[in-house]
């Protein structure tokens, strides 16, 4: 079995850089478009990727997003270098957020990030610890 993706797009995401936030997801979106992938699938990936990107910008020390294209699925991997999520169950609850007031003023920190990512995915996995958080999301084509 060949488990390697046909293509991989990777973006480095910088913590606290709110002006640039969204650029990685924007690039992922246009790359998927150029591959001729269905618009509904692209929108789902773009939303998941954008929420992941905002999470890295808001909550982490920085990280990366990889978008792997397979024959029958797209796998989005978001990984950061910490500090981790204290209570994943709480973080998965709609409306729960640890974001600061300044982040809320930007229209984020509504406590919908992780629930949104799960909502638009076919499979959602999260591992977290003080060394970082890794989220793997699958959308089938």
């Amino acid at each position: 079995m060949n488990n390697r993706p046909l293509k991989r797009y990777s973006y480095r995401i910088i913590a606290n850089d709110f002006m640039v936030a969204g650029k990685g997801s924007s690039s992922i979106k246009s790359n998927l478009k150029s591959l001729g992938i269905d618009a509904t699938i692209i929108r789902r990936i773009a939303i998941i990727s954008y929420e992941a990107e905002m999470n890295i910008v808001i909550h982490s020390f920085g990280g990366k997003i990889h978008c792997d294209i397979y024959e029958n699925k797209i796998v989005l991997i978001s990984e950061d270098t910490g500090p981790g999520i204290k209570d994943v169950d709480l973080a998965m609850t709609e409306g729960y957020s640890t974001a600061t007031e300044s982040v809320r003023e930007l229209g984020f920190g509504a406590g919908m990030g992780l629930p949104n990512m799960k909502k638009y995915s076919d499979n959602f996995e999260i591992t977290t610890g003080s060394e970082g958080t890794r989220i793997t999301v699958t959308v089938y084509l």
Binding site: F18, M19, A21, G22, S25, S26, K29, A39, R43, A46, I47, S49, Y50, E51, M54, L106, G107, F108, G109, A110, G111, M112, G113, P115, N116, K119
Partner: protein, 117 residues
């Protein structure tokens, strides 16, 4: 509803990309919380917001939303308009409040999104 009609109803100023006569939106999505927009809007929605930062445009971009209305006389800055131009978004600004904007559009037949769908 045609976006050109929305411009008339809201006495809106077109800040970027005057819409094609045929450009239409079916739903209105009014929020200052971009995560809520990402959760509930669809590509036939017009985004109505009082929030003025680049993340509004990014959110519209991810959702394939064609038109954004800034309410209460908010005028987005240069970077925001440039980002909108890059993404071929139509940007409108109205002096009406969020409540009045929604009320006027609803009265004229623009639909809301069923968030429980």
């Amino acid at each position: 509803m045609k976006v050109t009609k929305i411009i008339d109803i809201l006495k809106a100023e077109v800040l970027m990309n005057y819409p094609d006569e045929n450009l239409e939106v079916e739903y209105g999505c009014a929020s200052d919380l971009m995560s809520d927009v990402l959760a509930f809007a669809n590509s036939d929605s017009m985004l109505i917001t009082g929030l003025s930062n680049p993340q509004v445009i990014r959110t519209a971009e991810m959702m394939d939303i064609s038109t954004v209305v800034f309410v209460r006389g908010k005028k987005p800055g240069k970077e925001i308009l440039e980002l909108a131009e890059e993404n071929s978004l139509t940007i409108l600004a109205t002096d009406y409040s969020m409540f009045e904007t929604c009320g006027l559009l609803f009265l004229n037949g623009l639909k809301g999104i069923d968030v429980n769908e």
